[in-house]
Subunit: 335 residues, 2 copies
């Protein structure tokens, strides 16, 4: 440890972040002290951190820096919404190799600023450091929630309905299209990328959003989920996490898993069964949650919520039950 | 974004972190949810995050992984102590290339555990991800402080005494010794490293500690600093930060800057004026703080605190005034 800053990183942070305005009364001190100071007196504090590394989590060949900054904000605050909280503060650390000029860092921060403004989040920490290779970004989100509104992964109970917001698999298909065009471009740089008709899935990958409208409607109708997790690793993995934390099993019905028509169409182009990206794709930033079965009627009036199954006893395992009588165990890569 | 975990990272985190016990009543939920949940009712919440990248912030040729884990804890919590708060929670994210086996990650966590136990901090977030090259570590510390005890960088006033804890420059000299032995080893791997007589400076680099005893004595004597910052970038840079944030100038006296005899001796071996590592070395994890001049007597009884100068009007600038009448402007690399 011990490093001489390149292009005066502290100065660069100060210059970039002076455009940021704080919006939350809970933000007491932002950038410019050893730590940020947050006043969550009366409320629980939520803290989540993510590390994003070039070549692992993103590919700058097709991922614009501004979008990357925006998506980092979404990624961080999604974890706070998944606890049924509200994000209020964000801390960002960037490690960048000499390949990146100050303008590139500023471009990332343009996206961060857009995300902060859209979701009412204050940037309270910023750090820029050198890196030997590529770009590394760390985002820490801080939020708050009233004690009685906290939702964890641990509260799902037998017979609870399993719900997801929005539709799934789009971000993965968007990524496949970008990867395909990258390969074509690498072979022949004269060919322009063919992204026609893929607006929706590309947006799902490059500019995801939090399903705020649906979360708002749940609150309006006094529906407090018994458990919740954000869908960032794919439905299969995230459902396994939720069931594992709650000590329960589940039964889900594949025909109830919401998949957009554009996702299905491109999946078929790629000779992929559309259910696969929905189950294993990740990066959808939708919410997976459970509610007591008594909420069924209340839920049915909310557009954008799909009931995809229900919670079972732990011993029954995690099952996918098809219309045709198939009944297979849920499996996820990396587990 | 979107990555298939290597060696089931979630499982590895779960396995490693099950050895960790939480100790703070403010820790409501630790690892295993989308975000950690902290109860800082009645107190302000402090959050600080640091990113440490291999080859920039540490060199694994001579930095043992266990020590690296420990130092990451120190680095993170030092920022919380610098606000006069107490650290309570820690979140760690690790990105590791295929060069690192699970055992290496576990070794880092052994050091993290030691640090957490020593300083009473709960690990509440852990994440392991792949990396294309090398090792990247993100540490986020969360702490709390009573409203009236908060100390920022912004409160230094004209005539305040400028104080530092411990002694300075040792960590830098320790690093120079390690770098020297690395170069010798690279030329001839048959030669064993010569680290004799350098216990103190090596410990300053490889296993730094927070000056808890001194911070405790300040509290015992009801000495609330007007401003404080931790010494991680070197006295010159950190003093410039503090004075800049407070809108003041300063005058410091080089002969009052505390330097350990081992630091001085090795500095001379390296043909470095001992004052240089003290001013610019960094990584000392001592505290730089200011107190009203009326505290002079109270302070003088505290071992390990050196009064190195005083705060002046902003217009007077930042000056180093020697015994011999020299009067030069304070300068810091990277500014």
């Amino acid at each position: 440890m011990g490093t001489v800053p390149r292009f005066g990183e502290n100065g660069l942070v100060a210059r970039i972040t002076k455009e940021f305005r704080t919006q939350n009364p809970s933000t007491v001190k932002g950038i410019g002290n050893d730590s940020s100071v947050i006043n969550n007196i009366d409320r629980l504090t939520l803290v989540s951190t993510d590390m994003l590394l070039e070549g692992i989590h993103f590919d700058l060949t097709y991922f614009p820096l501004k979008h990357l900054g925006y998506k980092c904000v979404i990624r961080a605050i999604s974890d706070i919404y998944a606890m049924n909280g509200n994000p209020n503060q964000l801390l960002v650390g960037i490690g960048a190799s000499s390949r990146f000029q100050a303008e590139a860092i500023e471009e990332i921060y343009v996206g961060i600023k857009l995300g902060c403004e859209k979701y009412g989040v204050d940037l309270v920490g910023g750090d820029i450091t050198g890196s030997l290779t590529g770009l590394a970004i760390t985002v820490t989100a801080v939020g708050s929630v009233e004690n009685e509104s906290l939702v964890t992964r641990e509260g799902a109970r037998v017979n609870d309905l399993i719900c997801v917001t929005g539709d799934l698999g789009g971000a993965y298909i968007g990524l496949q299209i970008l990867e395909r065009e990258k390969k074509i471009f690498e072979k022949n740089s004269g060919i322009q990328p063919d992204l026609s008709g893929s607006d929706y899935v590309l947006r799902r990958q490059l500019k995801p959003e939090i399903p705020l409208d649906i979360l708002g409607k749940l609150k309006d109708k006094d529906i407090l989920p018994t458990a919740m997790i954000d869908l960032t690793n794919g439905l299969a993995t995230d459902l396994m996490q939720l069931c594992g934390a709650s000590g329960v099993g589940c039964k889900i019905f594949p025909d109830r898993i919401p998949i957009d028509s554009e996702t299905s169409r491109f999946a078929e182009d790629f000779h992929i069964e559309p259910l696969i990206p929905a189950l294993n794709g990740g990066d959808d930033f939708e919410m997976l949650f459970t509610v007591p079965v008594t909420m069924h009627e209340k839920l049915s009036g909310i557009k954008g919520v799909s009931i995809i199954g229900h919670i079972t006893e732990k011993e029954e395992g995690l099952r996918i039950v098809g219309d045709d009588g198939t009944n297979v165990e849920l499996d996820a890569p990396g587990w």
